[in-house]
């Protein structure tokens, strides 16, 4: 079997055993990229030489007897929202085009320390605002299952790269579903860890109280290995949690749900959901029951208002977070011809540098925080957020994990929702509650929808710091379905 079809865990073992070098593995993936990138367009930046140099350095370290982690030498695609010293970092925005950060994000740093080899930076919706990569200032990424469909977003470049076998692993960030929704629509595994479980230092902020770095992979175990490699406490991030957490890798190897209590969220499903999505989802729930889990229905009535609270909180934070892009210290500068004031240059730069969706959210947030509106909008949204957290807590009194479809529909067509922001926002209906509560949630593939043959994802939600439960249940579903299907869902990217 060719190197690109291997899991990250397999590649890590082969490299550690000296059966293959990191350089060979990197080259295999770079070759694959040369072949499929013109169709998929998952990456914003690829630099073969830098990648090979990294792989060579890992090979040297391994040959010198240095003990690195289980993913040493394995290539990874890195979302272009994490700063990287050796590659540009743009957040897919014109305002940062060509910016070379002088520092590595904590996630980047930990990838390097674990010996992962960065293949390049992946596409996203500008500043992670969107569900399709169509808001990227540079190009739209295509879904490897059907090139006319979106790969999800905002981390669509990362999901497409893994689904297209360009990389065995990738990083993402999840603010309202930006990992789970792309994972779901490309048939791979994507995990949003507990908020504070992985560091935001060097992650270009969209909404600080929601942004969470997390892994993409084709298997549950690979995702767990990657999460373990880059997560954990970071003194550079004040909101990073400094507490011992159960091992997610062990949980991913412990695919057993016998006796677990699983709650089906009543409010996430039903009307407005694609029938093929619901069919696969219901089968997954039955499967869990057949594996010995106790399934009960749980009601979380406020989840229906989560979307509205989210679209006040996230834009409010983003309106402030994106204020730093002012042409003064880095990035684009427009209109500095000696006749204009600093304020005018700032305004012209921001007008030219931000795309329409970013501007829409900055304006929404500026309005929601304005004097006289704050209580009615931002203040009220925070109250809803508190209520949602309480409903989660109450639900976790009854059950160990909650489940729902990851998204109401399978991948939609490129261009289908660009003129309808509300329709676009609905893609995150099921994922947003976990962001508001800060708890852990994973999306694992659970089959193809009959009507379009596109992947469907099962979302498994667990309490804060109980990330291990997501992996344990996810691994059980994966194991049972693969034995039913006689192999993984994504044997190869169908359209490539």
């Amino acid at each position: 079997m060719s190197l690109i079809r291997k899991t990250a865990a397999e590649l890590g073992s082969m490299i550690a055993a000296g059966e293959v070098s990191s350089v060979e593995v990197a080259e295999a993936h770079l070759d694959r990229m040369t072949e499929v990138e013109p169709k998929v367009k998952a990456f914003l930046h690829v630099d073969r030489e830098t990648t090979i140099a990294q792989a060579r350095a890992v090979d040297t370290r391994l040959r010198a007897g240095e003990r690195l982690g289980p993913l040493a030498g394995v290539p990874i695609a890195h979302k272009d929202i994490f700063t990287t010293r050796d590659m540009p970092t743009t957040a897919a925005s014109m305002i940062l085009e060509g910016w070379r950060p002088p520092y590595d994000a904590t996630v980047t740093k930990r990838l390097r320390e674990a010996g992962l080899v960065i293949l390049g930076k992946t596409n996203l919706d500008e500043f992670a605002m969107g569900s399709s990569t169509e808001n990227s200032a540079f190009h739209t990424t295509c879904n490897p299952w059907d090139l006319t469909k979106v790969p999800g977003g905002s981390s669509g470049g990362s999901s497409a790269a893994v689904a297209a076998y360009e990389a065995p692993l990738s990083t993402g960030t999840d603010t309202g579903g930006s990992i789970r929704q792309p994972a779901s629509v490309t048939g791979i595994v994507g995990m949003k860890p507990t908020y504070g479980g992985s560091s935001r230092y060097g992650l270009i902020a969209f909404a600080s109280s929601l942004d969470t770095p997390g892994p993409f992979a084709r298997t549950v175990l690979d995702a767990a290995l990657l999460q373990e490699a880059f997560s954990g406490h970071d003194a550079m991030d004040s909101t990073s949690i400094d507490a011992p957490v159960p091992s997610v890798v062990e949980a991913a190897r412990h695919a057993d749900v016998a006796g677990m209590r699983i709650g089906v969220v009543k409010e996430l499903g039903g009307d407005g959901y694609q029938p093929g999505v619901l069919a696969r989802y219901n089968e997954a729930v039955q499967l869990l029951e057949s594996l010995g889990a106790k399934v009960v229905e749980v009601s979380c009535p406020s989840f229906t208002t989560a979307l509205y609270a989210y679209y006040l909180i996230a834009p409010s934070e983003c309106s402030s977070n994106l204020a730093r892009f002012d042409a003064m210290r880095y990035g684009l500068r427009v209109g500095d011809d000696g006749t204009r004031s600093a304020e005018e240059v700032m305004a012209l730069t921001r007008a030219a540098g931000f795309g329409p969706e970013v501007k829409r959210r900055i304006m929404l947030g500026t309005y929601a925080l304005s004097s006289g509106y704050y209580d009615a909008y931002y203040g009220q949204a925070q109250k809803v957020r508190t209520v949602i957290s309480r409903e989660f807590e109450a639900a976790y009194q009854q059950v160990d994990v909650l489940v729902s479809p990851t998204t109401p529909t399978t991948a939609f067509a490129i261009g289908e929702r660009v003129d309808d922001p509300m329709a676009m926002y609905l893609a995150d209906l099921c994922t947003i509650p976990s962001n508001l509560a800060g708890n852990a949630a994973i999306s694992v593939p659970c089959g193809l929808a009959e009507e379009d043959g596109l992947p469907v994802g099962l979302q498994i939600m667990a309490p804060v710091l109980a990330d291990d439960r997501c992996y344990r249940v996810g691994a059980a579903v994966e194991q049972a379905l693969e034995s039913r299907w006689g192999g993984p869902l994504l044997k190869e990217a169908p359209s490539l």
Partner: protein, 497 residues
């Protein structure tokens, strides 16, 4: 037209408010590890966080939080059990994030007070809040006439100051100061400065901007119960300016009101050169800062046990120290207050510690040296003379080696950089004439030259001896011991004193 101060106060009563910013003397910045050394080359004390590079995050400086709590405790404040930072959003080129991390409706310390003494009266200034925030960078506007951003050819920004911890201390409105308003304002800032010094949390140098003051003033007609519209005067950068700014704003507002005008709620700028204020931004143009809780930082929840420890470990506060010193030194309230206003406590205390009697130490610092400081416009503490020098001079006077006039000359020599008091005495030859033979010879000459006066004394008009003593002092160039000279004159003329 402005109104003269006394007339203004006949018609109106002022209400004051003060907002003071104190730059903490922590070694690193508020939200990153950068150094805070004053005067370092531009943009050498910066990092991704204080430059607001994409992705960088703040982490709170625990020492700064501790200092703020200590300040709050020293100002008799309650300490919040739980509070958050907040973002104050506005665009300005020297503010890297285009928001300032500050505190909004949840200050770390609140509801305190500080007592100040003015003109024998104790005035209690109530403190509304003490909160922690970060400083901005510093812009320099090159070209243009005003040095302001408008009209400049270009501007350059130094981000070394960006992110230095600032504590903001806000008073509640202060009514009832009446004619003493300017003095109360000054006494309050002076008191704050001493408290900061005693806590060791800041070097509180107004000229370097580590203590900055905004002065709010409003007037109401005498007998009225509702306060008037207030203005906020910024850029008040010395104790003297605090006093002048209040006075000038009272005069200006009284003039406007007396002419039937209205006070506009606005920011005003104080000008050191003219001692007056000019209009800045009005309330209508004022920004909506869109405050919201800072999501990048976890809330501050000081452990009550820790706060109690900090409270127990507070140093002796300046007002307590003053009471102690007054008792030890036996000085009057007025003497103590004059010393306080002149910022002379540390100097006098150090001089006493160096061996001088308290009354003498006070006399020199508050007399000759205060006069010199005033003449040259130098703060007392910056005069080139040490408490030890003063103590030595008082010792020389006490031993009879110097008289008062010579002592002044010695001080002049020390201030002129001629060395220690002993070196000046040596170089300038300022010892009192102790040689009886030499003194006797001078007296004989003076008696011969002033036969009339000598006769008067002989005939019992002892008061006439003063002129003869004066003659001896002149002849000796002030080096004679006047008392001894008088004694000898009387002896020689056969009368007993």
């Amino acid at each position: 037209m402005t109104m003269v101060y006394d007339e203004a106060l006949d018609a109106f009563e002022p209400v004051l408010g003060l907002e003071t910013h104190v730059e903490l003397g922590t070694r690193s910045k508020m939200f990153c590890g950068c150094k805070t050394t004053f005067g370092a080359p531009p943009n050498t004390q910066v990092c991704p966080t204080c430059l607001a590079l994409p992705g960088a995050l703040p982490t709170a400086n625990t020492m700064a939080i501790e200092s703020t709590i200590r300040i709050g405790l020293a100002l008799n404040c309650s300490i919040a059990e739980w509070c958050r930072f907040a973002r104050k959003n506005y665009f300005y080129p020297d503010m890297p994030k285009n928001y300032q991390i500050s505190q909004y409706d949840e200050p770390l310390c609140f509801d305190g007070y500080v007592d100040v003494e003015v003109d024998g009266r104790t005035v209690r200034i109530e403190i509304e809040r003490v909160h922690l925030e970060e400083d901005t960078g510093k812009s320099t506007h090159v070209g243009g006439a005003t040095g302001r951003i408008h009209g400049a050819d270009y501007s350059i920004v130094d981000y070394n100051r960006a992110g230095i911890p600032l504590v903001e201390i806000v008073t509640k409105p202060i009514p009832g100061t009446d004619r003493l308003a300017p003095e109360v304002a000054r006494a309050y800032v002076t008191e704050l400065r001493e408290i900061m010094r005693s806590l060791g949390v800041s070097d509180v140098r107004m000229e370097e901007g580590s203590l900055r003051c905004d002065v709010n003033v409003s007037l109401m007609p005498r007998g009225a119960s509702e306060w008037g519209t207030r203005t906020e005067t910024k850029n008040v950068n010395s104790l003297r300016s605090v006093e002048r700014a209040v006075r000038s704003e009272i005069e200006r507002q009284a003039g406007v009101l007396a002419d039937g005008g209205k006070i506009v709620q606005e920011t005003r700028h104080f000008h050191e050169d003219t001692g007056t204020t000019t209009s800045g931004r009005s309330k209508e143009e004022a920004q909506d800062y869109r405050y919201f809780p800072e999501p990048d930082l976890v809330p501050i929840a000081p452990d009550p046990a820790w706060v109690a420890e900090l409270k127990a470990a507070l140093p002796e506060l300046p007002s307590v120290r003053r009471k102690r010193l007054q008792a030890e030194w036996g000085l009057s309230d007025l003497d103590m207050q004059a010393m306080h206003n002149a910022d002379a406590f540390d100097l006098v205390e150090a001089t006493v510690a160096a061996g001088a009697p308290p009354a003498d130490a006070r006399k020199w610092w508050m007399g000759e040296l205060a006069r010199r400081a005033n003449e040259t416009g130098t703060p007392l503490a910056d005069l080139p003379i040490t408490p030890a020098d003063i103590a030595r001079v008082t010792e020389l006077v006490a031993s009879g080696a110097l008289n008062d006039k010579l002592a002044r000359e010695v001080l002049e020599g020390v201030l002129a950089g001629e060395g220690t008091p002993d070196e000046v005495v040596e170089k300038r030859g300022l010892q009192i004439v102790n040689d009886e033979g030499e003194l006797s010879a001078i007296i004989d000459q003076v008696l011969a030259d002033n036969a009339d006066a000598a006769d008067k004394v002989r005939s019992g008009k002892i008061a006439a001896a003063g002129a003869l003593v004066g003659g001896v002092m002149r002849a000796s160039k002030g080096k004679a011991d006047a008392a001894r000279a008088r004694q000898l004159i009387l002896e020689k003329l056969g009368v007993s004193g």
